[in-house]
């Protein structure tokens, strides 16, 4: 490393002489001349900078102390406001103690430390031919030593052992990491014939008569309280949620009932709430248009027309839950969905 004293250590990079005696390229003027800072020439400015730096460090100390004060004086009492206040005070005082140090150090480096530029040489990264030669020699010697070239069987045995040992780790891992690996579960939900439709999240069963035209209900299957406090429930609910609307029967242009069956009941249609795009719960229903919008990527389904996709990245209609009414007037499922709910997957139609 050499300190650059002479600003005009220009290297002539001219390689050949161009037209009419002019060099082909300009030459490097060298590192610009060092310009002294105010703190270099004026002792007063120098002293002032030093004082500022000292003050900044002192401010940092105060910040740290203030943080302790904030800790002891503002105790959270469980309210959001008090928690916010405590967060604010602890954070701001912490920031002061940190920024004090940071700004002081930077100012110190910029105003007081030498700002003379230095020049270091670079060396090409490639190693010299001699070094390479020795390196290659070492490796060939090593290979020679091990005899791997001559001992074919040994090589094969070593390679096989290395290839096989990861199985001892991978097989147990893979066997368990996917649970039971039974992907046919995608196909079924807990809806069964006769299961009542209930309001989400209360679990109260829904009477058909309670629904006026235009009303919307978020629906789950009726289940016991214990079941609804289990993990299994959350996973099943993730497939079983349904959105139900009561339309004017004349407004329904189509639904998904096959020939000879009726999946709707008196203008009430129930469709899976799991978007056929990538599976968000579809939740935004617009009365006038009968459009159901998925908030995730705005796929839009027409509830009056078999939940067909009218816009967005989804490709398939939401599957319909076939419903009927039981003796007591409650809405019940006729059966499970006829097709898997939610996003498509490779084996969906298999």
């Amino acid at each position: 490393m050499s300190e650059n004293q002479n600003p005009n250590t220009s290297q002539d990079v001219t390689t050949s002489t161009g037209t009419a005696g002019h060099p082909e390229r300009f030459s490097d003027p060298g590192v610009p001349e060092h310009r002294p800072r105010l703190t270099d020439t004026d002792p007063k400015a120098n002293k002032r900078s030093e004082r500022i730096i000292v003050l900044l460090f002192a401010l940092s100390c105060l910040g740290a102390i203030a943080s302790l004060v904030a800790y002891f004086t503002v105790r959270p009492d469980g309210t959001t406001d008090q928690t916010r206040l405590s967060t604010l005070l602890l954070g701001v005082t912490m920031a002061i103690s940190l920024l004090g140090i940071g700004i002081a150090a930077i100012h110190w480096a910029k105003a007081l430390m030498s700002d003379h530029e230095h020049v270091d040489e670079r060396h090409e990264l490639r190693s010299t031919p001699e070094v390479r030669e020795v390196a290659v020699k070492h490796l060939t010697d090593g290979v020679e030593d091990s005899g791997i070239g001559r001992r074919g069987v040994l090589k094969g045995a070593a390679v096989s052992a290395l290839a096989l040992f990861p199985l001892t780790f991978a097989v147990p891992l893979i066997s368990s990491v996917g649970g039971d690996w039974n992907i046919s579960k995608f196909r079924h939900t807990i809806w069964t014939s006769g299961k009542r439709l209930a309001y989400d999240p209360t679990g109260r069963p829904i009477k058909a008569a309670d629904l006026t035209v235009g009303s919307v209900a978020h629906v789950i299957p009726e289940e016991s309280e214990e079941y609804m406090a289990s993990h299994e429930w959350i996973t099943e609910k993730a497939k079983a949620v349904v959105l139900l609307v009561r339309l004017n029967p004349e407004d329904i242009r189509s639904d998904q009932s096959p020939e000879g069956e009726t999946w709707s009941y008196d203008g009430i249609v129930a469709y899976s709430k799991i978007c056929t795009h990538v599976g968000c719960p579809v939740a935004l229903y617009e009365q006038q248009t009968h459009h159901l919008l998925c908030p995730c990527h705005q796929s839009t389904f027409d509830m009056a027309d078999g939940a067909k996709v009218v816009f967005g990245p989804a490709n398939r209609p939401l599957p319909q839950l076939p419903i009927a009414v039981d003796d007591e007037g409650y809405l019940v499922a006729q059966d499970d969905f006829a097709e898997p709910v939610g996003p498509s997957y490779w084996e969906r139609l298999k």
């Binding site: 700004i103 430390m113 992907i183 996973t235 990527h297 816009f311 490709n315």
Partner: protein, 567 residues
């Protein structure tokens, strides 16, 4: 023997000297200090961007360790009765969510740490991206730094993974829906998608394994990988020595700057505290991810206007823009969901492939095997700069499309219109951005030529004896000039002819020809730097010496001819 050695070098007398001696006799640390203490580093504000990424990562480590003391990554269901807000009392939730509430309301400074951690994650990703832009636009990825560019790109991907896995930990409604979208995307992968979904969730979504699994990924796997790669990244940086911006006395054979100790030690140390301080300030004053407002994960509700963290928006936008109709194919009874696969797998795949491949493609079309340590001014490599801006444009359009519902409500426009506008923009925007950027670069280069040839306008008008008015131009000083003439305007590759001297068809000609085509795309339009001869010619032009505006010399050369293509 040891006393002899000590006396040879003069036995240390001070405590520091003794300690140093002790250490050196056991570690030869003297060698390292000699090598590194006064190592020269070039200075520029943009070199701080990588540092910012590093320091926010350190803040992530510190605040993350605080969080791990109290966060409980369990999906066991509990009925909440704790310090959290009224609305959460009595709710059924996972222990992970409950412990996030306690971490926020019960642990002193816990909310602050959560918020610092989250802001640090956002700043971490932002500084990685901007750092990457700096490296790209200045050509710092060129030989010998291609490998470090790859390391950096892997770090970017790991950062995305870290952010995503952390975001999902509190097990709230929002992040749960994010996971659900991820599940949908995984399922769209042909052949193995369903099994991969089972692998990730340990069964069906959401199951009871995902949070503990993400926790291990988030606090062990990914940070360890990031740490190791940061180590490699910095090791290579020191090995290569830092690049420097062009300027007087800076060449590919030297490095001009300030010594590590004390200047950079102070500056970097200072920067760390400033980054930490700003993140603390953000954590103190800007609330983020108030999970108690969303509630614990429940597969049924979802709010409109929910946004993922910014670095995930491009994926969200990509999913939103893809039209669904006709893009789900059934082949031999198997379902191929192109409507998910293309936006969520193919498009990000292409974006990252571009990032991984670019340095090698540019080296190939430039036919350049030299080491580069002096950075390019972005204008001097118009096509690279254009491609970078095009890439960013695509990224930004996707990210904006990820907020199309907010844009729609904010500007009272219909979602359909906005989505269609973005669909078109996604294809047109980057091309347009490329074209505009390239033009701007070329005209900046021309302006540089103009300046070098004719100097600064001074605004001073003089009148000649013959009545002619002329503005006085002040010539550039040699530093100013050097900055503007010291670059290579690369030319398209020249390739060997299709047949050799004996008329035999040459193998590899076709591929050479393709590379040449690409090379033409890069370097056909170019502005050559002013040569001394041109400057002299401009000066002797007319009697006005250096004050007259000289006639244009040919500026833009192209291929073999000298047609001025740019106007």
């Amino acid at each position: 023997m040891s006393t002899e050695t000590a006396s040879n070098t003069g036995a240390p007398t001070t405590p520091v000297g003794k300690a140093a001696d002790y250490l050196d006799q056991r570690t030869s640390i003297g060698v390292a200090v000699k090598e590194f203490a006064r190592k020269v580093f070039p200075d520029h504000w943009s070199f701080m961007l990588g540092e910012m990424a590093l320091f926010s990562f350190v803040v992530l480590l510190l605040s993350g360790v605080f969080l791990t003391m109290f966060f409980d990554p369990s999906m066991a269901l509990v009925e909440y009765h704790g310090a959290g807000p009224e609305t959460m009392q009595g709710q059924l939730m996972s222990t992970a969510f409950a412990s996030t509430l306690d971490l926020s309301f019960d642990v002193r400074g816990g909310l602050l740490m959560r918020q610092i951690h989250h802001w640090a994650a956002l700043v971490f990703m932002a500084s990685i991206v901007v750092h990457m832009m700096r490296v790209f636009f200045t050509g710092a990825f060129r030989k010998p730094r291609e490998i470090n560019w790859l390391v950096g790109t892997v770090l970017l991907i790991l950062g995305l993974l870290a952010g995503f896995s952390g975001y999902s930990l509190p097990d709230d409604v929002l992040s749960g829906n994010g996971l659900r979208i991820t599940d949908g995307v995984i399922k769209s992968i042909p052949v193995i998608g369903s099994y991969m979904s089972y692998m990730v969730f340990g069964g069906e979504f959401p199951g009871e394994h995902i949070i503990p699994r993400l926790f291990t990924i988030h606090i062990l796997l990914v940070p360890a990988l990031i740490l190791a790669l940061i180590g490699l990244h910095l090791f290579l940086m020191v090995l290569h020595k830092h690049t420097q911006y062009p300027g007087g006395g800076r060449t590919d054979k030297n490095v001009v700057g300030y010594p590590l100790f004390p200047v950079y030690v102070a500056k970097m140390g200072g920067n760390f505290f400033i980054v930490f301080g700003i993140l603390a300030l953000m954590g103190a004053t800007m609330s983020i991810n108030n999970v108690w407002n969303y509630g614990p994960y429940d597969p049924s509700p979802v709010g409109a206007g929910a946004q993922p963290d910014w670095y995930m928006l491009f994926l969200e936008g990509s999913l939103r823009l893809m039209p669904g109709a006709g893009t789900e194919w059934v082949i031999f009874g198997y379902t191929l969901s192109l409507n998910v696969l293309i936006p969520a797998v193919v498009i990000p795949g292409l974006l990252f492939t571009f990032l991984f491949a670019y340095p090698f493609i540019e080296a190939k079309v430039t036919g350049d095997k030299r080491e580069h340590h002096v950075l390019d001014r972005p204008r001097n490599v118009p096509v690279r700069t254009g491609l970078g801006v095009a890439f960013l444009t695509a990224f930004i359009i996707l990210a904006l499309a990820g907020s199309n519902d907010l844009i729609a409500t904010h500007f009272a426009m219909s979602l359909n219109q906005i989505t269609w506008a973005f669909r078109i923009l996604f294809f047109v925007g980057p091309v347009f951005a490329f074209w505009v950027t390239k033009r701007i670069c070329l005209s900046l280069q021309r302006k540089d030529r103009e300046l070098v040839l004719h100097g600064h306008e001074t605004g001073r008008i003089v009148r000649f004896a013959n009545g002619e008015y002329i503005e006085v131009h002040r010539p550039l000083d040699e530093q100013e000039r050097w900055l503007r003439v010291n670059y290579d305007a690369h030319r398209p590759l020249e390739i060997e002819p299709a047949t050799d001297a004996r008329g035999v068809k040459r193998r590899g000609y076709k591929s050479d020809k393709r590379w040449q085509k690409l090379s033409r795309f890069f370097y056909e339009d170019r502005v050559e730097p002013v040569t001394p001869a041109e400057l002299a010619a401009a000066h002797s032009h007319g009697e006005h010496d250096e004050i007259a505006p000289a006639a244009h010399t040919s500026e833009v050369t192209s291929g073999t001819d000298t047609v001025d293509r740019e106007r």
